[in-house]
Amino acid sequence: MLNLMPAFTEEQSMLRDSVARFARERGGLDNRRQSSAEPHGFSAEGWQQFAENGWLAAIFPEALGGIGGGAEEMAIIMEVIGRGLLTEPYLASVVLGGKLVERLGSPAQANALLAPMIDGRTRLALAFVEPRSGYDLFRIDTTLKRSGSKRVLDGVKIAVLNGDTADTLLVTARTEEGPVVVIVPRDAAGVRIDGCATVDGLRGANIALSSVHIPDSHILGDPTRAIDALEYTIDLATAAVCAEAVGAMSELLTITTEYLKTRRQFGRALSDNQALQHRAVDMYVALHETRVLVVDAIRGFDERLVGDRKAAVSAAKAHTGAAARLIGQEAVQLHGAIGTTEDCIVGHYFKRLTAIDLLFGNRTWQLRRFSKARLQQGPGR
């Protein structure tokens, strides 16, 4: 059951094959342990390979040094990341950071920030979650205010994915005119980064901002477009983790089915029990029902009307959250005691799937957003 995100063109097939090769060599439990122990939480050499193979360029336009692909290429890469339990910060740097810069930044800003990122020399991280924000992208307490002739940034961000070692932070803030995104180098005065491991074996940070001076040139693009750009970016990132989850869930189904066939107790294979076969079938059905919703959310991502996009993304994410819960929990339970140990890869997939459900809106929140989006779409759609 490989490769559930479709490859429609020859280039996409080649992309998928090359990323899959990387994951076969560098994925799996031992590699993950090693990567997690690296200073940045991933292998620097692995990230260089991402750069050299053009995977960091895949979803950016050629004018910005990219290869001209989009959401479909992103989904192909993310599915493999999910399958292989890879720790490379593609989501954080390329999708959350890079796509926001592309959508919102001025040409000069986009060139300055994206070129070194695509080369693998620098990394971006988007800081948009706050202690009181929940999943509301625009419930922002961080302020950008005038202080004499300067502008200063004050506030606290949490759950900054790979924010512990990113070179450049993109930070959402509130002004009197509305939300803005500001560019903050990690070593700017007044920036305090508290890095941590996350429960799924990746990295994140809490970031405190105290009167950080923001020159005009560091306001990302035209602030009146910030809302649309942020919503687009988070929707894209949501679709990305759905694709990652599909890869992870597919692996779990394969591993679990194999285990049921080989593990013997009471003189027979576990799979001789019809009850257990049916539970594996339930996992399969949930996976494939989720897959089509994710593929639908990805296809034509850039061409959709915003309301349609929100509905499709929320549909995919709500279902992904539910399927991730079922498949993750069942994989552990069907493996019995070994599924609860760190030595078995099943638990690691389960933890990552749990985290994915929490990112960008859990399933309850997504159902609500889907409802709202559908109401706005009106009857007859």
Binding site: A197, T198, N206, L358
Partner: protein
């Protein structure tokens, strides 16, 4: 939860509460309340205090040194201890090795082992499961070869909780191969300091260590450490099933988790959300059902009737509900569940470093407790018990 308590029962509850207030250090109660890992000394502090009062072996009959409590009193004691965040009592000594030695042991064994168990002066672990013998325990293969006055034991036990703290292990070993595997099993008491005993930690997916593998290589066990006859080991183990009672501590753990869920919802402004309220109502109803089922079993026990296979239904629902509450808590905490606070989890500090205290350990707890539907009899085995013994399949 209304139970008809007699004035004596109420006085008993007061006595238990007073004991806990006096003997449970606040810092230890806090660690338990915060789902932090406890040290060996943490467990011993509480258990030895209970032991000094004669309350550790609270299920033992009076003539064996137990306090002689009724089924209701045992139930109340468990509930109050859980409510006040006392550490869970490690069951392997008082609830397993002790009763078996009392029932099947030699006079020497009773004299040697029962008092230290009553006082928590020696730590016991359980050598039952093996990598190939989980639910199918009778297929165990650890061999014990008789050589004169000694058994020489070779094999591997797994999922041995707290083996790294243990002084003794009670162990099911195979002394012969028979037509039925149960017939060739023998019950041995193994000194964990014996040469050839090698304990290796197993890390759970939340990063904590409580289980172990115990490798046994030419371990010499005196025949005087065999409980019961050779080949009687399975009978000894099955004897414990006849002593099984519904432990009211699980309801206590569920209530503690539910309180944390309510706190998380309040702190994140989700308590008034209608969807959450509806889900919470369902949880509370399921908890009420569990409590009523528990009281029913208690009433049977008070009349001297041993719990039957319907207890499996309680175990199934109890595990499901506990796990669901933990899952829901992670959902409610959202992003605040993401940071991994290893130092807080391991009990090295009482201050969370990255997230508010109500969320800081929500995810590790959710991950770790996937085990409650697996250890001590999987949900699937519990369902088989009901299928066979209640529904007659």
């Amino acid at each position: 939860m209304s139970m008809n308590l007699t004035p004596d029962d109420r006085a008993f509850c007061d006595e238990v509460r007073a004991f806990v207030a006096e003997n449970l250090p606040a810092s230890l109660a806090r660690k338990v309340a915060n789902d932090q890992l406890l040290t060996k000394q943490d467990y011993l502090t509480w258990q030895q205090a209970l032991g000094r009062r004669g309350w550790l072996a609270y299920t033992w009959p009076k003539d064996a040194g137990g306090p002689g409590w009724s089924a209701v009193q045992q139930f109340l004691f468990e509930g109050i201890c859980a409510e006040l965040n006392a550490p869970p009592i490690v069951p392997f000594g008082t609830r397993m090795a002790g009763p078996i030695i009392r029932e099947f042991g030699t006079d020497w064994q009773k004299k040697r082992f029962l008092e230290p168990i009553r006082q928590s002066a020696e730590w016991w672990c359980q050598g039952y499961s093996e990598p190939s013998a989980g639910s199918d325990l009778a297929s165990l293969a650890t061999r014990a070869e008789r050589r004169g006055d000694t058994y020489v034991v070779n094999g591997q036990k797994i999922w041995t909780s707290w083996a790294h703290h243990a002084d003794w292990m009670f162990c099911l070993v195979r002394t012969s191969r028979e037509d039925r595997p149960q017939k060739g099993i023998t019950f041995l008491l193994i000194d964990m300091r014996s040469p050839g005993v090698d304990v290796q930690p197993i890390r759970a997916i939340d990063g904590t260590h409580s289980y172990n593998s115990v490798f046994l290589t030419d371990v010499e066990v005196p025949v005087s450490h065999r409980v019961g006859e050779e080949g009687q080991g399975w009978t000894c183990a099955k004897f414990l099933l006849s002593l099984e009672r519904l432990d009211n501590a699980s309801a206590g753990f569920i209530k503690r988790a539910l309180n944390k869920l309510r706190t998380a919802a309040e702190k994140t402004q989700q308590a008034d959300d209608p969807v959450f309220q509806s889900t919470l109502a369902d949880v509370e109803i399921r908890l009420r059902a569990l409590e009523l089922l528990g009281v029913e079993v208690l009433a049977s026990a008070s009349e001297g009737r041993a719990p039957g296979p319907e207890v499996s239904a309680i175990k199934i629902r109890s595990a499901e509900l506990f796990q669901f509450i933990l899952e829901l808590t992670v959902q409610v905490c959202g992003y605040a569940s993401l940071p991994y606070d290893g130092r807080l989890l391991q009990g090295e500090t009482s201050e969370p470093a990255f997230a508010p205290s109500y969320s800081a350990l929500a995810a590790p707890k959710y991950f770790n407790r996937r085990a409650v539907s697996i250890f001590g009899g999987t949900t699937e085995i519990q369902k088989n018990i009901i299928a066979k013994r209640v529904l007659g399949f």
